[in-house]
């Protein structure tokens, strides 16, 4: 349980923001609740301790930060990203639930610095989509830290928060043992979940008697966490019929699911709304196509799903879009008819709910984590800059610091850490290397 100990240590260090900090004078967009003009937000020991109008009481010993003319809002929550040079499953099998993203993340990767520059404070880092199941995802706070342990989010039982990544459609299609058809893909997934159900039953039947327990099976254990609801399925799915296949399997095995990408979501909005999901996390792309299943990707999807009653969020899919312009995703949703408030909700609370971290992040509320952004202006304007990013009462990005500005703008020294994203073993998207060699069938997201 060394990992648990490390998590507790990290938590102790983080609680050490002993002096309160008060941000004053800003327009505050709390996401939940009405906007405040000339608002005050006080943070102490990594939590928000007060939030209100100009009359809000500020502790006498507080450090004051004058944010007049600025906009303050919660740090963004990215529900689907591949920052940190993450890797997951290899080419040995299409379903690899034992593989953990947290074992393969480089916390010094330049993509993490860029994510802070984009205002992202909480992120679901996932393996790629070239598999039916490519491994366990990990939810991170983008705290400054040299070890992955410093970035993890401990659950009540001490284990790090995370989900599991699945995919259907064209990305996992390959030669055997990978599926060659959609029906085969679903059959392989069903078979593994049935094995996991049997394993769960054996464990339950043992009644705590170690002699009767089946031999430990890391794969079935992880799938068991999916069946028990502890681990949410983050499911890559684009085409309308593939989306409905995810819902069919979720219903059969009662797993809890977030739909990701959802290119054709505008075609099946009512079906998604009726199904029991934690929501739909969208990528809006600058033009349709680039792969067959994204040929009908539309900017309208955000508004359509939101109006249908779906918990609708956005993600960067970093590598596919850059974390530095995550705000832009919401703005494109607004451009195509989504309400402004709902679009900002889609960058924050909607995703916090999908990660089941909405009690800690996603909005500015007293008692929540002090993760906030200081913006130069309207969150949906191209001209607006994220000036400061704060996580748990600590400033992790400040546009006036040369090294942070470099992370934003780029230039010599900004990157240079090799391939900037996960490398799928089918060899396509080796971003750091060569776009010409891209596998046209597309195995990324």
């Amino acid at each position: 349980m060394r990992l648990t100990a490390a998590l507790l240590l990290a938590a102790a260090v983080l609680a050490a923001q002993e002096r309160p900090i008060a941000f004053t004078g800003a327009r505050i967009v709390p996401i939940t609740g009405a906007e405040l003009s000339e608002g005050v937000v006080v943070v102490h020991r990594g939590k928000i301790t007060a939030l209100g109008g100009p009359q809000t009481a500020i502790p006498a010993n507080a450090e004051r930060i004058n944010a007049a003319g600025k906009v303050i809002m919660p740090g963004l929550v990215d529900s689907h990203s591949h920052i940190g040079q993450v890797e997951g499953a290899d080419s040995s099998a299409p379903i690899q639930p034992d593989v953990r993203a947290l074992d393969a993340i480089n916390p010094r990767a330049s993509s993490i610095r860029r994510a802070r520059a984009g205002g992202i404070t909480t992120v679901n880092v996932m393996p790629g989509s070239g598999h039916l199941l490519s491994g366990q995802t990990v939810y991170l706070k983008l705290r400054e830290g040299a070890r992955i342990d410093d970035l993890l989010i401990p659950l009540a039982d001490g284990t790090p928060a995370g989900g599991i990544k699945m995919a259907n459609g064209t990305n996992p299609r390959r030669t055997a043992p990978f599926p060659g058809t959609r029906a085969k893909a679903a059959a392989l997934v069903r078979e593994q979940f049935i094995r996991a159900q049997e394993y769960q039953k054996k464990v339950a039947d043992a009644g705590g008697d170690a002699a009767k327990l089946p031999p430990r099976d890391l794969r079935l254990e992880a799938l068991g966490e999916v069946l028990s609801g502890k681990r949410v399925v983050h499911h890559h799915t684009h085409r309308h019929d593939d989306i409905l296949t995810v819902l069919r399997l979720a219903e059969e095995f009662k797993f809890r699911v977030v739909l990701h990408h959802v290119s054709d979501g505008w075609m099946v909005a009512d079906e998604i709304a009726k199904a029991n999901t934690l929501g739909a996390s969208l990528i809006l792309i600058d033009s349709p196509g680039g792969k067959l299943e994204a040929k009908d990707n539309r900017l309208v999807t955000g508004g359509v799903l939101d109006r249908a009653g779906v918990n609708t969020g956005f993600h960067t899919d970093d590598g596919v879009t850059d974390s530095r312009w995550f705000f832009r995703m919401a703005a494109l949703g607004v451009r195509a008819g989504m309400g402004r408030e709902k679009a900002l909700y889609g960058l924050t609370m909607a995703n916090a709910k999908m990660l089941e971290l909405d009690n800690r992040v996603g909005s500015l509320e007293v008692g929540k984590d002090a993760d906030l952004l200081v913006l130069s202006g309207d969150p949906l304007s191209v001209y607006t800059k994220v000036e400061q990013t704060w996580i748990e009462g600590r400033k992790v990005y400040d546009i006036t610091r040369p090294e942070d500005r470099l992370a934003l703008t780029g230039g010599f020294g900004a990157g240079g850490d090799g391939a900037l994203m996960h490398l799928d073993e089918c060899g396509g998207f080796t971003l750091g290397l060569d776009f010409r060699n891209l596998n046209l069938s597309g195995e990324l997201d």
Binding site: G289, V334, R335, S381, G410, A414, L420, L433, F435
Partner: protein
């Protein structure tokens, strides 16, 4: 549709206005923006008159479109749209032929698909002209052309059937197998071919050689070599090659141009900057969002582009790329200039396009706000006097 004919038509047939546009702000790119401006468009598809509403009356009965902001139709200074199809399947990818590293004889007109849905998609954001054709990825991949973003055939769409010869240096040009396998080999191969082209040009009696014919235009300085090149040392290599053979270059991409601005300026060659939102990897790992602003500051002619994309999105939208450049130092007005007259100059079509000037082709884009804002819509597109799109894109 040759340029000479069009100009002749414009001069010979000064028809009465058949369409008018009135904008709260009209960016003419031929003088300062006009508040409350009017653009009158002739029946022959050219611009008849531009000025403030107080000076330019709209004749009674003429259809009038209203907009907050009016600009000349936008020009994407380098794309592969129309060759790199929307589906990204082998059957619709015609921007790169891999059978040989040097193929300047490949014509864009033989590959351009005016019906690819991405063409109309781009047009409906106000982009009316594309410099498109063979993409990066080979030492010399083929020819480029200039098209309008409408038309039923490549002939209908064509502004210029051959614009430049597309070349790449650095990792982009490294062959998957065989030569060139190194940077030095790339240049050795190019020098060899250019020497052959000089010799071919000097021969009196010769069998036709399509490849040599295309390269002769390059060594005679009649056809620009569009060199996609990112690393600073590779940019300097391109300039060295240009000096040796007296080539006319257009530098493309140029992610590390910020390290060699004086050398680029001294060469006199323009730069078509990589998409602002390009991914910072490989030869582009040291790219900066401020590249366009730095070129502007250095006084180097530049334009903006959508470039080539191997995955999602299959095409970028130059308007979106420009918006980020504007936000990172270039500013709104200079960005709109780069998207219109700046690009037209580099492409050599500024006699026809790029500004709202009497006699030029009436390509206009209408917006319901600052064209560069994420949430602004293109509300109408006019191409040579015809309303091609009206709605909200």
């Amino acid at each position: 549709m040759t340029r000479a004919l069009l100009l002749f038509a414009a001069l010979a047939l000064p028809a009465a206005a058949q369409l008018a546009v009135r904008g709260e702000t009209v960016y003419t790119m031929d003088g300062e923006p006009i508040a409350n401006g009017v653009v009158l468009i002739s029946a022959n598809g050219t611009i008849e008159r531009v000025g403030p509403a107080s000076q330019v009356a709209i004749p009674a009965g003429v259809r009038t479109l209203l907009a907050k902001v009016v600009t000349p139709g936008l020009i994407d200074a380098h794309a592969t749209a129309g060759l790199s199809g929307v589906l990204n399947q082998p059957h619709d990818q015609d921007q790169l032929e891999r059978s040989a590293p040097i193929q300047p004889e490949l014509r864009a007109v033989d590959a351009y698909n005016p019906r690819d849905e991405l063409i109309t998609y781009l047009r409906n954001y106000g982009i009316t002209t594309l410099h498109t054709g063979h993409g990066p990825g080979a030492l010399i991949s083929g020819q480029t052309m200039i098209v309008k973003t409408w038309g039923n055939s490549v002939e209908d769409a064509t502004v210029s059937p051959t614009a430049m010869i597309a070349a790449s240096l650095g990792n982009l040009a490294r062959a998957q197998s065989g030569s060139p396998g190194t940077r030095a080999k790339m240049i050795a191969m190019l020098r060899g071919e250019l020497i052959k082209a000089r010799e071919y040009a000097a021969k009196n009696e010769k069998a036709r050689d399509l490849r040599m014919e295309a390269l002769v235009e390059v060594v005679e300085g009649k056809r620009p070599l569009l060199v996609t090149v990112h690393r600073a040392n590779d940019i300097l290599t391109a300039l060295r090659l240009a000096r040796e053979f007296n080539l006319k270059l257009v530098l493309d991409g140029a992610a590390e141009a910020h390290a060699v601005l004086p050398e680029i300026k001294a060469s006199g060659f323009p730069v078509i900057v990589h998409p602002t939102m390009a991914r910072p990897g490989g030869d582009m790992e040291n790219m900066t969002l401020e590249m366009a602003a730095k070129l502007k500051e250095a006084g180097i002619p530049f334009a903006l582009q959508s470039g080539f994309e191997g995955y999602v999105p299959k095409t970028r939208v130059v308007l979106f790329e420009a918006a980020l450049a504007a936000a990172h130092g270039l500013g709104r007005d200079a960005t709109l200039e780069a998207l219109t007259i700046g690009a037209a100059r580099i492409l050599g079509i500024d006699d026809l396009l790029g500004s709202l000037t009497a006699g030029k082709q009436a390509d206009l884009a209408l917006y319901d706000g600052d064209p560069l804002e994420y949430t602004t819509h293109c509300t109408a597109v006019i191409g040579q006097g015809k309303v091609l799109f009206e709605g909200v894109q």
